[in-house]
Symmetry: C2
């Protein structure tokens, strides 16, 4: 059994909304916290709210030129500045300057990134991998203390892949992905959910900073495996929609032979994988352009050692 781990206390925490400018729960919360940040504050650390993509927020679009949440790679962050750079490249470099530099000792200790999806994903917690012990303990704490809905954990990073998301600028991070909510809409129920989860996560940091010992546990997670595109006509146009029996079934198992699409002429198309899988981001509006009808995951359990702050 792995011995208890210790990590330094957290001093500087950031929380951003509007990394995608039409995902409104985070946009509304970050704007509100910029007016009144009091509910973010705890005794032992400071939390800074910010808007990730102000121009996209203003236009209520996901992004202006590039998906900002794919820009936080060494290649983009270290590229030579030019006025011809896409807006999101410039913005990623600015964010890296203020909250990073990524991978450096000066980087913020933690970053929360607030998202919505049109998929029926409930209250999903997204981390890059199971190896971020602090984030895994935070997720476990949220799952135990925020009981209004299940909070499944999705790990997006493939083996050998460099983390590219905005929260990777800080030493550790977590994306909170709530759905279903249409782009450009702020629902009161999801706003309340997101606020409660954020509050719970900040409470965790406060307890951690104060020296609470968090015991070892088994984390049940869903790990990204790959994605499935829509069926298409020879000319590239989509020829089928997500099957009504798959729609809204995020985090449920999909078995070989289950229907996944329905063509406009009424034909069912079945899942031909060899094994059962779990599905996520089913019929997400923003992923049509990425050629993703849904993503596949495997369920993984990891043993996480106990955690306490370094004294």
């Amino acid at each position: 059994m792995t011995p208890p781990q210790s990590l330094p206390s957290l001093k500087r925490v950031a929380v951003c909304g509007g990394t995608h400018g039409n995902e409104m729960s985070g946009v509304y919360l970050a704007k509100y916290w910029l007016r009144d940040p009091s509910e973010l504050q705890r005794g032992t650390f400071h939390t800074t709210p910010f808007l990730s993509n102000p121009r996209a927020i203003e236009q209520c679009v996901r992004y202006i030129e590039r998906d900002l949440n794919r820009m936080f790679t060494a290649e983009v962050l270290n590229s030579k500045k030019s006025d011809a750079d896409p807006y999101e490249v410039q913005r990623a470099q600015e964010i890296n300057q203020v909250f990073g530099p990524k991978g450096s000792p000066q980087a913020y200790d933690f970053m929360f990134d607030l998202h919505n999806t049109t998929a029926n994903m409930g209250s999903c917690l997204i981390a890059n991998s199971e190896q971020s012990l602090l984030t895994m303990h935070m997720c476990n704490y949220i799952q135990k203390h925020y009981t209004a809905s299940p909070c499944p954990i999705f790990l997006y990073q493939l083996p050998e892949q460099e983390p590219y998301s905005i929260s990777s600028v800080a030493k550790a991070g977590l994306a909170i992905e709530l759905g279903p909510q249409p782009q450009g809409v702020a629902r009161a129920d999801l706003l309340t959910q997101m606020r409660s989860i954020m509050s719970c996560a900040l409470d965790f940091i406060e307890l951690f900073n104060k020296g609470t010992m968090f015991p070892a546990f088994e984390s049940e997670t869903y790990k990204y495996v790959g994605s499935v595109d829509y069926p298409r006509y020879p000319d590239g146009e989509i020829s089928a929609v997500v099957h009504p029996s798959l729609q809204d079934k995020d985090f449920q198992p999909l078995k070989p032979g289950d229907p996944i699409f329905q063509t406009l002429s009424g034909e069912d198309i079945f899942y031909e994988g060899d094994d059962s899988t779990y599905v996520i981001f089913i019929n997400e509006a923003a992923y049509y352009e990425k050629k993703i009808a849904f993503s596949k995951m495997k369920k993984c359990t990891f043993s996480q050692p106990a955690l306490q702050r370094k004294f």
Copy 2:
């Protein structure tokens, strides 16, 4: 009692999708019907499918420069052409040339226009006013024969107002508005609903053309009264979201004193109207920019005379 009315048979019918380029049920159906129009055909008339706003569809946005569905006024349609015109002005003039001219004997007999909303409006039938006898009889037929969900009738035109919507180019028209569906998403269930309602409407035209007598009836409709904006800070930013107890309650009554908004600081805001009203387009994504949180309606019943085609 008004005597039975007679109207000429219908020869040319049009159906368009993508008047708003990110409302996907109509986009997908119109694209499919352009590949295979057979399900639109009946014995006594011809139906032409088309895409209203191809550039907006390509970019998956509501519109490029102007809301196309507000462009069909005499002023816009008769303005002198210029290359500097907004794309939707050009497109409205093209559509008017092919399916109009609006108000002329050459205009198409009927136009269907397929829409989605992020609001929980179910299967809503939208006409300009109760005075279009053919459309009112069609709505009544749909309500009786499409029984999978209620199909309330919304009349959008204010007294003295010129009809401005795309279907006003034809001699009569109907918009079918299905929700809730996020912008940019095509759900199989709504696609099926829209197709069934279209099929039912085409059956009605076929029966009408064949000489069926449609008896007099009372039509229960909802008539547009006005709209309510979101509460705002002095700087114009929205300060409250639609109240959770109002969200998703389209077509339900709203009474004075009912909560309608919730501020981000947790305060409830109540409806201060003098009388009960009915609400629609609650939290529609596309209406944030129009400063509409929801619209108000009055319920009206109209006596409609019997209808038969002119022999």
